[in-house]
Symmetry: C2
Subunit: 564 residues, 2 copies
Amino acid sequence: MSKKQNEQPHAPDGVLRVLPLGGLGEVGKNMMIMEYISDSTHDSIIIDTGIMFPENDMLGIDYIIPDFNYIMDRLDTIRGVIITHGHEDHTGAIHHVMEHVNAPVYATRLTRGLLEVKLKSAGLLDQVTLVTAQAGDTIQMGPFIVEFFHVCHSIPDSVGLGITTPVGLVVHSGDYKFDHTPVDGWPPDFAKLAEFASRGVLALFADSTNADVPGWTRSESGIDPAFDEIFRDAPGRIIVATFASLISRVQQVANAARRHNRKMIVQGFSMVENVKMARNLGYLDIPDEMLIDVSEAGHYAPNQIVVMTTGTQGEPMAGLGRLSTGQHRNLEVEPGDTVLMSSHPIPGNEEMVYRTINKLFQRGANVIYDPVASVHVSGHAAQEEMKLLINLVRPRFFVPVHGELRHLHQHAKIASELGIPRENIRVVENGTILELTPDSLTTGERVPGGYVYVDGSVVGDVGPAVLREREALGRDGFVIANLNVDRDSRQLVGQPEIISRGFVFLRDSQDLINKAQKAIADGLGQNGHTSVRSIRQDVERRLEKYFYTETKRRPMVFVFVNEL
Amino acid sequence: MSKKQNEQPHAPDGVLRVLPLGGLGEVGKNMMIMEYISDSTHDSIIIDTGIMFPENDMLGIDYIIPDFNYIMDRLDTIRGVIITHGHEDHTGAIHHVMEHVNAPVYATRLTRGLLEVKLKSAGLLDQVTLVTAQAGDTIQMGPFIVEFFHVCHSIPDSVGLGITTPVGLVVHSGDYKFDHTPVDGWPPDFAKLAEFASRGVLALFADSTNADVPGWTRSESGIDPAFDEIFRDAPGRIIVATFASLISRVQQVANAARRHNRKMIVQGFSMVENVKMARNLGYLDIPDEMLIDVSEAGHYAPNQIVVMTTGTQGEPMAGLGRLSTGQHRNLEVEPGDTVLMSSHPIPGNEEMVYRTINKLFQRGANVIYDPVASVHVSGHAAQEEMKLLINLVRPRFFVPVHGELRHLHQHAKIASELGIPRENIRVVENGTILELTPDSLTTGERVPGGYVYVDGSVVGDVGPAVLREREALGRDGFVIANLNVDRDSRQLVGQPEIISRGFVFLRDSQDLINKAQKAIADGLGQNGHTSVRSIRQDVERRLEKYFYTETKRRPMVFVFVNEL
């Protein structure tokens, strides 16, 4: 396996393999592997290393990482790891990946700053080579010539990729929207996309997140008027909650605060860290004198203050969650406060988000959220932008990525309506390898492309079986009976001890327990059990049946039998 | 306590108390109690008896009913139970309430039909007096003169109430929208509302469900064009999923099927039952020859068939859920099928809904859902309709109900913008009594107004403590150790037996278990325990600490100590 593959052969003997990986249903969002394999060479790059947050029925799971076993026996082929932007679903698994991979990590300045924080806390910062790649840079990684181009997204310094491979030019959109008036004043690089088209694009891999949303996604600047109205009219403090990684939104809040003469208090560990880092790197323009510490709040009238915090997804431990339950260390929500939720609930979080909003109202705050006012816009392209991207790039083959199957199908439909032949569009799931040659796109083999649960400090020791147990325990709880039996007579000695959790409130259910104890005694009396094991099984069966008959629930039942 | 209170005294000596009850955060949606109490009289009516479905973190709970303990020592004051329409969140607890209440139940024909089904399956049909009350009827219930007026909602035969009480006229909107072109051709009774206004309305209680939605809710007829396009273009079968209680939607599907020459197959127990009942009562117009059994499907081309089923909320056991996983008894989704989701996800269900949609795409179906096409409209008024209602009725006092606190606050804001003085608007939570006299609205005492969990066959034996246990078990599982110790020496006899569920996959974690066993042995060896109890506590503490250190998780730990 040689790394030398610089000369672009006219008829490459190899094939380009693209493997989307990722947590849950979102295809290729958290990670993508691109390999070029010829008779004599084998080289690959990794695009993004993100995590996903668990769904509601994945009990106890902290987060999910892509199952990247595929690269484990290809580690020596990896020429580079590219991170397209600084969001968790693209960066969060960097330490899990870089534990194994020995190749440089390429990222723009802000993204690199965010990666450094992660690698540092994992103790890996010294071992990883980080390379800054700005939009406009071209970097060669083995046979891949990677051009970084600027895209607009809800975090600055996001990039898409134009990757010249031996089989042709492949464009990867990254997470993008076409925002003509972004907060950082840096519009998308339309010229670069057109230039790619002029060179001829073999395949486009494009973000499908909002493929079921008609029209255009509003510009980030579109929310400034709503901010202005709120900042002007709010009678007291304003508390703005958003994602810590939404650096552009923090800038917009700072801009509104400046226009309306409010001081800014930043709260929450990740928000404080990100603001510090982004200011240091020049991605956030907030004058020193505008930022105050929460301890200085008393020096100002409530209507001269804006608090920036996290917790828009209803997380009970984040800033807004604590404020809603009166558990915040430094602050308390008071009547007269205005809370501004600058985010949308991620599907699955709605209940928790609305619960938080209701609790804030209960404390006397006025809570403003979309659709009450236009205080949030998505960072992803909607249908008309997707059409623009496809028509700008004019790819021969089209692969929708970054979305659930339903989004990919909508995106495929859009591409087809724009004239890309159906057979040149491919919707695949994570773990399905796509193979590209200069004139073909084929679906290759399927490899494990699922996800790995991270729970507590351990990766991967919780699998579907344990999750099923958790689900059963969470639904009906368990009952344990501890029995002493006489070694010879097999008769019960004393009363069985019965404990349960999550089943019924035992103190109110003495009758149920008494009857269960009787059922045990009856069962033992009747049968001529020869072994502890057969007693155990028999009693377990009897108790399961008894509890179901009485309560129509199925707690897990365990029996210990001790021979005396 | 006399029931005679017919003469409307000019200056009533009594007070009208209104108590909103309900499951979860939705105020007064599932149940409202209205009492008139004077020196010599005490009479009350109940409006609606509904259930709520549990939120994601209420593990194992089947449904929730309002805590109606308040009426239990006032049972002899109840003059009537009024059900405004046939949806579960207004009817579902009828059997729980009518187990205790001895008063007639008033409902319109369709609502009555749906109530009868419920009462029958609870074995209460013979004991309950059901009275049909059509829109336009006026019925006296003790001192309350109740006028039923027609409103539009997503089920036919819905009513609002004008209740003339000794203190004045109180209007209750029921669940409503102002639909000029409803499917049943019966627009809202604007004249009645205006007539109420001419008489002078003391207080308006109004539906707040969509108070954060600007504009008007689209008419039910507004989805017909989308249906027509889909029914015309779908190459194969169409499978429409909606709520079984959305009778109007079933009619719209039937109308589209008629226009496009498709036969209709109805699937799912509740859908079949409701369609049968609504056809019998004349609320559904589907000709016999249009309905076919699933066994006859083979006689028709796929594009001559539409299947009507349930499961729009991602419920795995409902029709669409089973189709998405290939577990349906009669049908299988095939490439070429078009699935139409005529509903919106109820907050909290999004994940399950999208999972179902993705699985249907995986099976080759084309799935159409809002926002991909306009195939659903809400049954509740949006902001402009709320304004119309308030301006039509012109109440002196305004109480937003049917919504979470966030909705009530938005609705209150709307009323205030229309000129109702802030002090005449009252936002309260379930369990807060409101007191009305001819010229005052005051907030009275707070009574238990929460909810009661129904789990399995038992009402109310699962409380917050059991739910917390379920949550802990669902998150980290449990570990049990069973130890034998020598009665005299207090030394361990044999190896402790350790079992766990929901914690880690034990077979892969032998090392963890071995070390735990060693920790137990060490602990026992070190300390001079005098009692079984102190051994138990000590070992539990050691194991909890050990597992947390090793895994950063906190499984519940239980220890049995048996003296040999």
